[in-house]
Symmetry: C2
Subunit: 495 residues, 2 copies
């Protein structure tokens, strides 16, 4: 399998940076090479030795180095947003074994023999913020969490339909029918494993960062190829799309303060006092009379945690931040229950800084974060306050499933995964156009997917002679995986 991954930073609008010696990626977070990650180059067997990408740049010399724990092709130049790279990535083979053999430590030999139940492939991009620590931890940890989660349910994953009981024991003769009526399929177990793995990884990052006195967070975009399906799990603002000859299909959605406005506002939604009817709370209900908060809790809008804002922010959204001159006027606003807009008379509390403020790429949660899902950030607080960001952040990804086996695959069908820097300046259609113009003419080139990834990044650097000819410029780091689907379509797992 030959997948290309590139991350470069060019000086926007200016000349390409001169080659620099690679910086050490040393970090207070101890580096461990994950054992399950095998080489996933174009060769057939596992390749434990790190590979030098040997990529040939398309238009300019590309300098960088291979990530030792990344068995795919990689090219990195530090973006200097922090001393170490904030973007991190991982890819490799995913070997799922039976879990009843005991602890991993006792079963070292298993990695080398054929007890694997399933083999898949794994690609992940982590876009860090507030330092590289969370992204590095995620790149070193998430695949282990996922493997553990998958191994815990693997008997269900390899069954035609997951059994009600993992033991195979049947309490009711109609158990298979219940499972069938619920429509539970093997892929639902993989989705569940991805969801749990993200949460587990988030907890690990929280513990490790705290223990080492570090901070930070990262987005996570993961693709897993397993049993003829491609699972894409996303928490953050990276994006994956499927590009085929006649089709562009988004495989992920972005999670930002704007797209998750209602969920975030709901967390601090205050019950409208005029809507409270004390009669609605039964005096016979013990939990309703115990304390006032629980009275509110028995009404539907009672997601009452205004304390999270410490009186510093307003939950409401306005077209701009309000000022004194707006007091008493009716201005456009919306609250957590609204997808539409309405007008309200401005009160003094509306002048506070908004929970979600800014527009598009400038939108920020509590004036601090541009994403609303991701890993880490357990210690992150609003500047000069004790207001925590974490209660508003979710580590749970959204998972989409692409049934690769059902596609009539062409050799040029690929999935493009990239961090937000690419999508800031290139639309899905522009990326697809670049893919379609590049691949067919380079069929004989074994490095064409790597070169395509590099070319995509180059297209964001505002050269007039760039493939899009529109001179767009990205000021952000960009990391790109190009995953050819043709090889994924033929089931390569051991089962």
């Amino acid at each position: 399998m030959s997948a290309g991954w590139f991350r470069r930073r060019f000086l926007p609008g200016g000349p390409l940076p001169a080659p620099r010696p690679p910086r050490p990626r040393a970090s207070p977070v101890p580096y461990r090479r994950p054992r399950f990650l095998r080489g996933s180059g174009s060769g057939s067997g596992p390749a434990d030795a790190p590979r030098r990408p040997d990529a040939r740049p398309v238009r300019s010399p590309a300098r960088g180095r291979a990530l030792p724990w990344n068995a795919g092709y990689a090219e990195i130049i530090n973006a200097e947003k922090s001393e170490f790279n904030e973007d991190q990535a991982a890819c490799g083979q995913l070997c799922i074994r039976r879990c009843e053999f005991g602890a991993e430590e006792d079963q070292e030999w298993l990695a080398l023999c054929s007890e694997e139940l399933l083999t898949g492939h794994y690609w992940a991009l982590f876009d860090g913020h507030g330092g590289p620590a969370a992204a590095i931890l995620a790149a070193n940890t998430l695949h282990s969490c996922l493997r553990r989660q998958l191994e815990a349910v693997v008997e269900g994953v390899v069954a035609t339909r997951p059994p009600m009981h993992l033991s195979g024991h049947c309490v009711c003769t109609s158990d298979p029918q219940f499972v069938e009526e619920k429509g539970i399929r093997a892929e639902d177990l993989v989705i569940g494993a991805l969801e749990s793995a993200f949460q587990e990884c988030d907890e690990v990052i929280g513990r490790e960062l705290e223990a080492s006195g570090q901070v930070g967070g990262c987005t996570a975009l993961v693709a897993v190829s397993l049993q003829g399906k491609l699972y894409v799990a996303n928490a953050g603002d990276s994006r994956a799309i499927l590009v085929r000859k006649d089709e562009i299909r988004p495989l992920s959605s972005e999670f930002t303060p704007e797209t998750e406005r209602q969920r975030i506002q709901q967390l601090v939604g205050v019950l409208q006092r005029e809507a409270v009817d004390p009669q609605l709370v039964s005096p016979q209900s013990p939990e309703a009379t115990r304390e006032p908060d629980l009275c509110l809790a028995s009404l539907p809008e009672a997601f009452v945690y205004p304390e999270l804002l410490a009186g510093e922010f307003t939950r409401l959204e306005f077209p701009r931040r309000l000022k004194g001159d707006d007091l008493g006027q009716k201005v456009l606003f919306r609250d957590h229950h609204m997808r539409g807009w309405s007008y309200k008379c401005v009160e003094k509390s509306d002048l506070k800084y908004p929970l979600i403020h800014g527009q598009g790429r400038q939108a920020r949660l509590l004036g601090t974060l541009a994403v609303s899902r991701g890993l880490g950030d357990h210690q992150l607080r609003v500047l000069d306050t004790n207001i925590q960001l974490k209660p508003f952040l979710l580590s749970v990804p959204q998972v989409t499933v692409l049934d690769v086996d059902q596609l009539e695959l062409q050799e040029e069908d690929v999935v493009v995964m990239a961090t937000d820097g690419l999508w800031d300046v290139l639309s899905n259609e522009q990326v697809a156009q670049l893919v379609r113009s590049f691949l067919p003419g380079n069929r004989e080139d074994p490095h064409r997917f790597s070169e395509l990834a590099q070319m995509l990044i180059h297209s964001t650097q505002g050269k007039d002679d760039g493939p899009t000819g529109e001179g767009q410029v990205s000021y952000d780091d960009i990391s790109v995986f190009v995953i050819p689907l043709h090889s994924q379509g033929q089931r390569s797992d051991g089962h």
Copy 2:
């Protein structure tokens, strides 16, 4: 405009019921004919007198009577689920005036003169449960709430783009730019008005039912034609679809315990204790140390209202209700953060009755309700307990917008709105097939939309010679509106 609305109950599989004298629709809820509702028959001007539908049945004599407050064509036979009809409907013209003229009571004459800023059309279906009271109140009230909400923002609705300030006053010169950057359009104000109107109506129903010692709730599906757009607002399990020659487009989604599982489970989501790291809650944070609940509140999963279940239910979903034999085994489950499935070891608390139980049409919230959004139900409790349903129910609708002016309308393009009884036995495709086979051959018939509505209901009665030939049977009440779009496409509003 000729829209057809029919609601019939046939004895499933058996002969059609013999004609019965119409039952009185007397109800403890006082009936008021809403003043704004004008006749919306095929005639051109307002027709305040109720119209006799004069519908010609397609295959069998249809008995019934016109709803006096429904100016469209209507046909009702009591379904005998309760003494009075549980399904209710309303349709008519919607006249939006400037609100600065004063209270409605002082401005009676306005209804008869030309001070209206906007004219639209309104159709609504309410599927009651636990008695007809909530549905009757909704049919008598919701349009008034909507009119009030629209009148409060009408200057913004008729503007090219809503102004930041309703007064037209401009505090910042760049205010129009802020509104444009947020992408706020006139239609967002209509969506906001619909959302607020549903909530206001829900509060009115709560108060009125309590005052009259009645109970019950209802779903609500509303279509509003305004300024060349059709707004469809849905709270419950009714459905609206657009049917054109080459297109079927869903205009609503159903809200049931199954489709809203995660939202409902989240309300009683209990923080996983093993995930709580006390270090994550800063001791300096005053709100974190005030009381234990607020410590939980500072973590993202702290939607902690297990009290709502009073220890009687389990929040988790399993393929079937668990029993003693399942104890200690690993069974399929999912929690609020999961769209996928996983396995868990069954504990004693998992044997409780599930918060959401059953499959498909049998799925129930707290063993009681089949819908998760709607109006009313303020007093509804789980049988023999004090557990309230209302905290889990939302009155907020989901609103979709159909830009009718952008469609190249054909004479046979219609919107079909119906309560769940129709969709239980007919798919969108089957309904579309019936529409397409019926309308073109009946172009000269002025009652063809009413007859189509009647024919759709007839098709659910399991006759082998029915248009679908599949002998499907509905055991539920069915109410249907067929709204021809051709007349809606030409803006008929006064602005």
